[in-house]
Symmetry: C2
Subunit: 204 residues, 2 copies
DNA sequence: CGGAATTGCTTGACAGTGTCAAGTAGCTGT
DNA sequence: ACAGCTACTTGACACTGTCAAGCAATTCCG
């Protein structure tokens, strides 16, 4: 074959994502996925180990998109450490709200086999981005307490955003933004200067 | 014995909880619940509006248990404001780990009808307990930023505890405790004294 | 070059699920 | 006594995931 034709495996993953984003986890079934991909209902069994296998492969794909999202969020934050961390968390939250189904797959669905090694690399990459964004606020070495504090807070903020989508039931007069929460968390820390070693030079 | 005031409705809720705690959300089906309650497979339809109705009723029950759990956690914290807040969050986390299925029902399951008014009272009561535990760390009035920061952090900590149950994949050398995370969050705050004689005349 | 094995998918079946329609036993109110 | 109502049962239907068998095309290899 001259060119590698798109494998049914990838088509199925795309079809599954489409179903997930259209109708949530309820709509994501093996048979519907196969139908959308234009194959028979048992075809997916030859590429994935049942429904959990398909969901796990989709979760792996989702982790890659997720790591890309928080990476570009960090890059959008420029060079200022606080803006970089904020951009990272904004990427986190934007992905969670724009791809709620994939987020659910990545962090919640009990059908995903979390021991599968295909999940590891991109999940680790995503965490490394968060870790590096936290680094300037520590004493130079990785501060696991700060990392987990930021991670827990942004993750919880995203999850609570899903749950309390009924405005009337929200206990807040005005829901604080995550930036305010992060400022609260970092209030006890020294905010690092932008370029501590070099002589004062403006940002371009 | 002679009088049998236990309604089938309550029996079904208990049966559902038993199934949920034994086999997770996968095992919680209408028909299994009916079978465990000793009735026919269509009996639940006369007490709940389908499976979502049963799950919503179970979630309401769960919110009551949850509010009780964080209430006793707060009481166990004694009178010191920090210990009270810590006890509250510990109650939160203990409930989440010991009743993972109910926690999933309360905050995650898309089948639960979150607009149902039966969810409101106990969910509100739970949040009020958290709010009051945060109050001493504010300037006297409810500080919604601090409340949401604490809530997001404890919620995210609980959720991440579910996800990353594979020790090998955890990015931490030693997973920081939630008390350490809370200390990090409160590091920018004045820790209130235990028995303030003039509560409102604190430093400003 | 030609059978044989493998791959990729289809077809068909089965048990299990939620939901609906119809039926029934038992109690209640008049 | 009788009608009506409540609480459930029975049966059916469409849909689900999974498995076994089959089949056509490709690849292997002797």
């Amino acid at each position: 074959m001259a060119q590698d034709p798109i494998s049914l495996r990838d088509v199925l993953i795309e079809a599954g994502i489409a179903l997930l984003e259209e109708g949530g986890m309820q709509a994501l079934t093996l048979r519907q996925t196969a139908a959308r991909a234009g194959v028979s209902h048992a075809a997916p069994a030859h590429h994935f180990d049942g429904l959990p296998g398909l969901l796990t492969a989709m979760a792996a794909h989702a982790f890659k998109l997720f790591a890309d999202a928080i990476h570009s969020g960090r890059e959008a934050g420029g060079t200022d450490p606080l803006q970089r961390l904020l951009g990272t968390t904004e990427g986190y939250l934007t992905f969670a709200s724009q791809h709620a189904g994939l987020f659910h797959l990545m962090f919640i669905s009990p059908q995903v086999n979390r021991a599968d090694p295909v999940l590891g690399p991109h999940a680790t990459r995503a965490y490394q981005i968060l870790r590096e964004a936290c680094q300037p606020f520590g004493d130079g070495t990785p501060d696991e307490t700060l990392e987990l504090a930021v991670w827990s807070m942004v993750h919880g903020y995203a999850m609570l955003g899903f749950t309390a989508d009924d405005p009337q039931r929200r206990p807040f007069h005005r829901r604080p933004t995550f930036a305010e929460l992060l400022a609260e968390l970092l209030a006890g820390r020294q905010i690092p200067v932008i370029n501590p070693l070099a002589p004062a030079s403006d940002t371009r």
